[in-house]
């Protein structure tokens, strides 16, 4: 399952990754904090939308991600 950056507001087009709570290969439970994101206005914790094993991280810490883009994959 792809974990995508959800909409954060009309004028917010992207967020930057502050840090990942999980490493590739680790398991994560549904609803567990997966990644912290930061925008100009606020910081967010994104919970895992499903449980499983984190297989891919598409954006490393400090990288920017567009709204709707894939952040990670959970299997």
């Amino acid at each position: 399952m792809e974990v995508k950056l959800p909409p954060l507001g009309n004028d917010i087009k992207e967020a930057s990754v502050s840090f990942w709570y999980k490493k590739v290969g680790e398991s994560v439970a549904e609803g567990e904090d997966l990644v912290e994101l930061s925008t100009e206005k606020a910081s967010f914790n994104l919970p895992a939308p499903a449980g499983g094993r984190l297989t891919v991280i598409k954006a490393g810490e400090g990288e920017k991600v567009a709204v709707g883009a894939t952040l990670a994959e959970i299997e």
Binding site: L8, E40, K41, S43
Partner: protein, 295 residues
């Protein structure tokens, strides 16, 4: 460290851990977004990039923003676009009422951009929106969060005559910071709007302040006392968050305990309800705050 060659800027504090908001993944978030889009409406939640948006949308709660999404003012704290707005849409009140019904809201908060370009400041459309929502069965309560209508008494009374359960107008900040934060508004004028609303006697009167714009504690206490003196019964205090780099910097991040202490202070000053916290916004859990007054 030498400061030479650098323009003085108020210090921007790093965001502390308690200001990390948990996003909510829930199908209801998309359902709420779809209801808003289907009725061609705006929410201040999305327009202002509110960090609470997913939490509230998951509860099928949204704050409607009428009269367009372009504001005629340029307040230095606000993320809503400034420019020349479109003419008001005559069917917007019915669309808001329909969307509120689709969401199953029993308590609806309606706000707007500031429309200094309209002769009545948009008061007529505000009133019709309140009336349209209140026509629902079973009855629905409405909270309005209005601009100052440039102090126009008739415009204010037009809105109040429609019978909102709560009239809200945010003071936003302390008197000293008005020229910087709300250059086209006035501290005394906003207090007068609130005082007149209270005297009109329709529903409860509510207001709110942001912290983190450079105010001192003494100034906050003084603003709270002014609000009480004007007859305000419900108050909100929240953290100012800069929506974009063009807005004023955040000067401080009071700890959650400090917000708790402000709620206590507000109660001591005689407010019937006080909501204070880093993520408290004017309309955050507005229905619950209203009910806590026991009205």
């Amino acid at each position: 460290m030498p400061l030479s060659g650098r323009r003085f800027q108020p210090k921007m504090e790093k965001r502390p851990a308690w200001l990390t908001k948990r996003l909510v993944f829930d199908p209801a978030v998309q359902e709420t977004e779809a209801v808003v889009a289907r009725h061609r409406l705006h929410t201040v939640c999305a327009a202002a990039g509110c960090p609470n948006r997913s939490e509230c949308f998951a509860r099928r709660v949204a704050t409607f923003m009428i009269l367009g999404d372009v504001c005629t003012r340029g307040c230095a704290f606000c993320g809503v676009r400034r420019g020349r707005p479109e003419p008001p849409a005559a069917d917007e009140p019915d669309r808001v009422a329909a969307a509120a019904a689709a969401l199953g809201l029993e308590y609806v908060v309606v706000t707007s951009v500031t429309r200094d370009d309209l002769p009545d400041g948009g008061a007529g459309l505000f009133a019709r929106t309140v009336t349209a929502i209140r026509a629902a069965r079973p009855p629905v309560r409405v909270e309005v969060l209005t601009p100052d209508f440039q102090g126009d008494r008739a415009a204010l009374e037009t809105v109040l005559s429609a019978g909102p359960a709560v009239f809200n107008h945010n003071l936003e900040t302390v008197a000293r910071l008005y020229p910087r934060v709300r250059p086209q508004a006035g501290y005394r004028r906003s207090l007068e709007v609130l005082r007149r609303a209270r005297r009109f006697g329709s529903g409860l009167v509510k207001s709110g302040l942001m912290l983190g714009l450079g105010e001192t504690d003494a100034e906050v206490e003084s603003a709270l006392a002014d609000l009480r003196e004007a007859g305000v019964e419900i108050v909100t205090l929240g953290q100012y968050l800069r929506p974009n780099p063009g807005c004023l910097p955040v000067t401080r991040h009071p700890r959650p305990e400090e917000f708790d202490a402000w709620a206590e202070t507000a109660k001591r000053l005689g407010f019937r309800a006080a909501a204070a916290g880093p993520f408290v916004r004017s309309s955050y859990y507005a229905a619950e705050v209203f009910r806590s007054t026991g009205t």
